[in-house]
Assembly symmetry: C2
Homo-oligomer: 230 residues x 2
């Protein structure tokens, strides 16, 4: 299930792409538990609210993990036509499988954020960049597909003389599996933030809230998240 | 020499990665001459001076080409250990083949800038992102290698449902060839900026100045550049 998940002398330093949401925080806990030396990177790509960045910062501070924010917000005006970087377009509500969710696609987002993480990883002589892709990632996001990640990893392995690569240990797990794993690792889920809106509580009805609730339900575990709409 | 260099109905909109230097400005002139619809993108990655960005802007303004600057300067503190983004490290002088030139390697720079260009390209429904890689690009830059570009292109083709790809028409040309081509196209070379330092004139002795001078010399054409040190 999780090949090569134990650190070795040649493979122990990780950069974790960490949004402050559920999936990437489980990944952070998992890698620390496995014994990796980790640093956390959040990306400010001009998303409509910075709430998840503050959550990421607080989690890392509690774990004594170095946390950096890569500010690429200067490019948000180039990446238009979606509700995550354009304040004029409303965040759609409902399930990810719906057509309306296409409004949450930020063009080439994964390549942009992974390329920055790899740049920092090379500077830090890290061995890999870990991110929390999982089997429930949706095909409305073309850059969540396995073939995309695999092609990008081939390029990453060639980007520098220092060897570095992607690591996606959750690629065959469901989001429900991640809730189970996080619970086993003692992760305080209420300290993670998923919601695309930036209210006081999770809205409960946007795509990522619907998915978060569903994951706890499928895992059969209590959901400590406070939702605005039940 | 330049396969598929004529626009078609399905392949006519380009984003040109345009530093304001010699190579990328020849590319801009070349694509316009071929009949492509072009937009120009410069990247502010926190380089020590912004001079080349102003040159890019002025060239595009004279050609009536839309020019945008992608500001990713917020990540320069993550990309340390090189003289282009760290003001404490001096720009080395001499030929690119020298060991000291390793100080000019910005970790994963090409993937970062191309991923942003592709993101804008997808937003604009462009068909390709053109950049001015040429046969003289140096192996001190691992991300200038053909195998890197080819792997990255495979990932770019998968990053979105909208089809987009890299285009590198100069990959088998020398920098001397580019001087010849630019001269044929009437390019005012004195309006391009190559120097890694940001003085009033090109310094004449950093890696990129040495290469610029050599290219005019090898092309057997007059070099209109004003150099500080001859």
């Amino acid at each position: 299930m999780l090949p090569r998940s134990q650190p070795t002398d040649q493979w122990n330093k990780a950069i974790v792409v960490h949004s402050g949401g559920l999936d990437s925080t489980v990944l952070l806990y998992f890698l620390i538990h496995q014994g990796f030396s980790v640093k956390s990177l959040s990306i400010d790509y001009g998303q409509r609210h910075k709430k998840e960045l503050h959550y990421a910062q607080a989690i890392c501070s509690a774990l004594d993990v170095e946390h950096r924010i890569a500010d690429v917000s200067g490019i948000s005006s180039l990446l238009q036509g979606n509700s995550l970087t354009s304040s004029e377009i409303a965040v759609p509500e409902g399930h990810y499988t719906e057509e309306s969710m296409k409004l949450t696609v930020v063009p080439n987002r994964n390549m942009i954020l992974l390329s920055v993480a790899v740049g920092w990883g090379v500077s830090e002589k890290a061995h890999f960049v870990a991110y929390a892709a999982h089997s429930g990632d949706h095909t409305i996001y073309p850059d969540c597909r396995e073939e995309f990640a695999s092609a990008l990893n081939s390029a990453i392995k060639l980007c520098d003389w220092h060897p570095i690569e992607l690591y996606r240990p959750f690629v065959h797990k469901t989001k429900g599996d991640l809730v189970t794993l996080g619970t086993q690792l003692g992760l305080p889920f209420e300290k993670t933030w998923s919601c695309y809106k930036g209210g006081a509580l999770h809205c409960g009805v946007c795509g990522t809230c619907v998915e978060r609730r569903e994951a706890f339900h499928l895992a059969g575990l209590p959901d400590p998240t406070g939702y605005e709409r039940k």
